[in-house]
Symmetry: D2
Subunit: 240 residues, 4 copies
């Protein structure tokens, strides 16, 4: 079984690369997380244990890739950002994306018990990944704004929805029905008048997601910008 | 924070696809596994616990992708094969590759304790992934022959090397030196005369790796072809 | 102005390649040929001078690429076929496609006066190009059947349409209206009963297009299979 | 011959695109132009008729693509620049590159007789093409500097080389030998002392190539910046 006669098959490999001098973003997203959250009885609309586990997994990824400048997480997704000058793995898309997805998933399972001490992980979860390249800082910021706006809209909706269901005693169907056509202001209003919740005083981590970046050189660890349970009144812009 | 003004950034996503009507192979490979094996005190040259954990993780992947027709594993790598007609995830490379890498890693950590009951996992391991497309069955078979030949060559070498070191008491450097320039026959000879080992009677799982395929329809579970510790005299060809 | 400080920009080039061991097809298609045909007062539905000029241009392309095994032309398009083993220009898509489009266009203009002696070329025409890879001979044949079926359908329609207009004295709008909903048999019928035209006796070159392949080794020139004006009763299949 | 059963082959087409919001450069380059120049007895080192024909062909391309902001030509090559916002043909690489290569070649042949009235075109020439994407204006400028530096270096070398051969009576081999190891200053010196040529007084069009851009809105034609035979003392930078 001489290996050489078969080695020609290696030449079928391709290696698509992220365009040089562009920001490379890797976004991971949990596979069928809606189901996963129900299976594991996550708190609604957001489970702080899940957020912190996601953040821990994201820190594990960043520690392996010191070139990353920022990571942003919300819901079941995390985005990792490599700067334009970065040449990690020759910018090979598959290599970078698969390694990030692998590391994140591996760390998620690895640290599960720390964040869900009483809850057994039912099955191995998975996260898909993709790379997107952005040529300008402006595009890069808009990407983060896009993901953060997604966080904001979903979280506001989910917060009202679950308030109506869990505190207001409505059926899920009726709650959904009653929210049809409502705008942002209406939802704030419902929360405030019916449930005495000032939405903008809820912890930032729920409303805005989590940004990870490197701390100053003296401290070499990753720092999490948004601290859970510490409400903050101002709605800052990402990278602003 | 209207989401719509940022949504244009979604258009920067690309979705490279595996060419239609070709075999799609996903190969995963452990990141820095040489180090990982030492850190976890794996048996040399192969640790059956690792092989069985890898196989378990691979079965987890196959169960999520019933379209896969075969998987082949050896050393720290696993290859998964989708047939030409398969349209999973629209054949998107990143989506498929990242999901496989994620699932495999997740399952590897998830089942670690089952296969390494006394050994704590030190850190989350990772596996990179890539997709390779083969237009013909002939190329597809040659791919598997290539990986199996790799298994064979490395395993024969490592078996002699570690016999010389662990049983023969040689220094690693001296063992490596003494094997320079030896051909396959020489290595069989050394094993047989110096260590009374008939290489071709060693368990197939070490010499040939593991092939996973679907059992007949009655049984719906994944079946592992090569059983560890059951030596078999004939060196069959993959897919032969 | 030292060149070296700028040479880094060369690294931004990418070189997508046709997957190894697949058939590579280059299809060229005339840009806005409907307009071009009117501007140059082409005969309707097909102008044999145009067909022969296209064939000449295609032969020029084939002579530059002896690796091509076949070319097929109809209407304002031509497809060139490289076999799976071919390694021309390392299978770089842009290099191959652009060279074919360039050569074809260049030859089209170069030989214009030979085929249109009395008619001045009004402006430089252009042809776009693309590469498509087919993994199997079956797919490759179906591609040619697809293009030939396109030829057949369009030519049958155009033949009836222009008969109605040019010989039947109908307005173009009325002719188009009268053909709505008709099937192939209806069109044969109209041609036969109203214009005494037996469609299947019209020259093959109009009904089937032109296939170019290499003649036997003794003759080293390119041979055109379909001869214009020589009606042939049987409708052969491409590559059949 | 129903077309529908074959139409599935269309799905094998791919459409790689230039990354959004990047500069798209199309560079065309003459195939085997060294030979072509000899065959057509071009003047050495540069033939102004060829330059002007190339410029004319390039203007033809620009007129078809009003989105182009600039074109730069030298030797047997031309680069065409689309700005980041441009969405021509959905930014499809093959479509854009092949159309440019086709148009340029077509126009080159079309206008040949105007620039080479006494000289018959021997055979249809061809130009290959590629697309390169640049994320920043800085990269875009460096690209043009790279091509202009290439022009400068080659033109200086060729000017001295052909002066030594044609005016100095040296054999080509001896001339090449005598220039080995010489730097820019040496070549200026040889030209000045031996042939009374002040290199920087030679027409810019030879030393710097040609830049095409759109004239002010009042005039709607394409304007050629560098005028042949009009020496200009200052060596301006591209886009500077
Ligand atoms: N209850 C609860 N649900 C959460 C939490 N974090 C995320 N989720 C849920 C909300 C959404 O249903 C889901 C994320 O939305 P996706 O669009 O990613 O959907 P999903 O992952 O189900 O499908 P996919 O496989 O990504 O297409 O995860 C949490 O902390 N608590
Ligand atoms: N002792 C021991 N070593 C193993 C076993 N399975 C795999 N290995 C080691 C042998 C090789 O050093 C390594 C696999 O080779 P690779 O070429 O994949 O190298 P590695 O993963 O270190 O680097 P990479 O990140 O893939 O470039 O894993 C095992 O069961 N026992
Ligand atoms: N009268 C006449 N028309 C022809 C002849 N050969 C081709 N044509 C016309 C028929 C069609 O209108 C046109 C080819 O169809 P296409 O779909 O390629 O359209 P066209 O080139 O106009 O647009 P495109 O730029 O390819 O999207 O050329 C000919 O010999 N005589
Ligand atoms: N005598 C003369 N030669 C020229 C003129 N313009 C270009 N050339 C020649 C100089 C070079 O030999 C050649 C262009 O260099 P390339 O690197 O593009 O080489 P070539 O086209 O031969 O090969 P290629 O097919 O591009 O790899 O064309 C001209 O005006 N007069
Ligand atoms: O891992 P290999 O041997 O297939 O080789 P590679 O992909 O070229 O290298 P790397 O693993 O470093 O990405
Ligand atoms: O692959 P999917 O199904 O997640 O779909 P998508 O088009 O990638 O969409 P999204 O970015 O919303 O996950
Ligand atoms: O033409 P160049 O110098 O850009 O180099 P290349 O594209 O690598 O080579 P070729 O012209 O032979 O395709
Ligand atoms: O020309 P077609 O019919 O193959 O279709 P297309 O390539 O999608 O369209 P276009 O010619 O406009 O690029
Ligand atoms: Mg998704
Ligand atoms: Mg999800
Ligand atoms: Mg999500
Ligand atoms: Mg590797
Ligand atoms: Mg490895
Ligand atoms: Mg390996
Ligand atoms: Mg078209
Ligand atoms: Mg057309
Ligand atoms: Mg057409
Ligand atoms: Mg070249
Ligand atoms: Mg050239
Ligand atoms: Mg050149």
């Amino acid at each position: 079984m001489a290996k050489s006669q078969y080695e020609y098959v290696k030449a079928f490999e391709t290696a698509e690369k992220g365009l040089l001098n562009t920001w490379m973003v890797i976004r991971l997203d949990g596979h069928s997380f809606s189901k996963f959250c129900i299976q594991h009885d996550f708190e609604k609309p957001s489970d702080i244990r899940c957020i912190e586990l996601m953040n821990h997994a994201a820190r594990s990824v960043m520690k392996v890739f010191p070139e990353m400048v920022l990571a942003y997480g919300q819901s079941d997704e995390y985005s990792f950002i490599f700067p334009p000058k970065c040449n990690v793995y020759g910018r090979r898309k598959s290599k970078i994306v698969s390694t990030c997805a692998s590391l994140f998933s591996s760390a998620f399972v690895f640290h599960w018990a720390t964040y869900f001490p009483g809850s057994k992980l039912q099955h191995p979860p998975s996260f898909d990944g993709r790379m997107i390249c952005y040529p300008t800082l402006h595009n890069m910021r808009d990407y983060l704004c896009w993901r953060q706006a997604d966080c904001h809209i979903n979280n506001l909706y989910n917060t009202v929805f679950w308030a109506l269901v869990l505190k207001g005693g409505m059926e899920q169907k009726a709650a959904a029905e009653s929210l049809k056509g409502t705008v942002s202001g209406d939802k704030h209003e419902i929360l405030f008048t019916q449930f005495d919740i000032n939405y903008s005083r809820l912890p930032e981590v729920y409303r805005k997601g989590t940004t990870l970046h490197w701390a100053s050189e003296e401290e070499t660890h990753v720092r999490t910008t948004n601290k859970a349970h510490q409400p903050s009144p101002d709605e800052g812009r990402i990278l602003g």
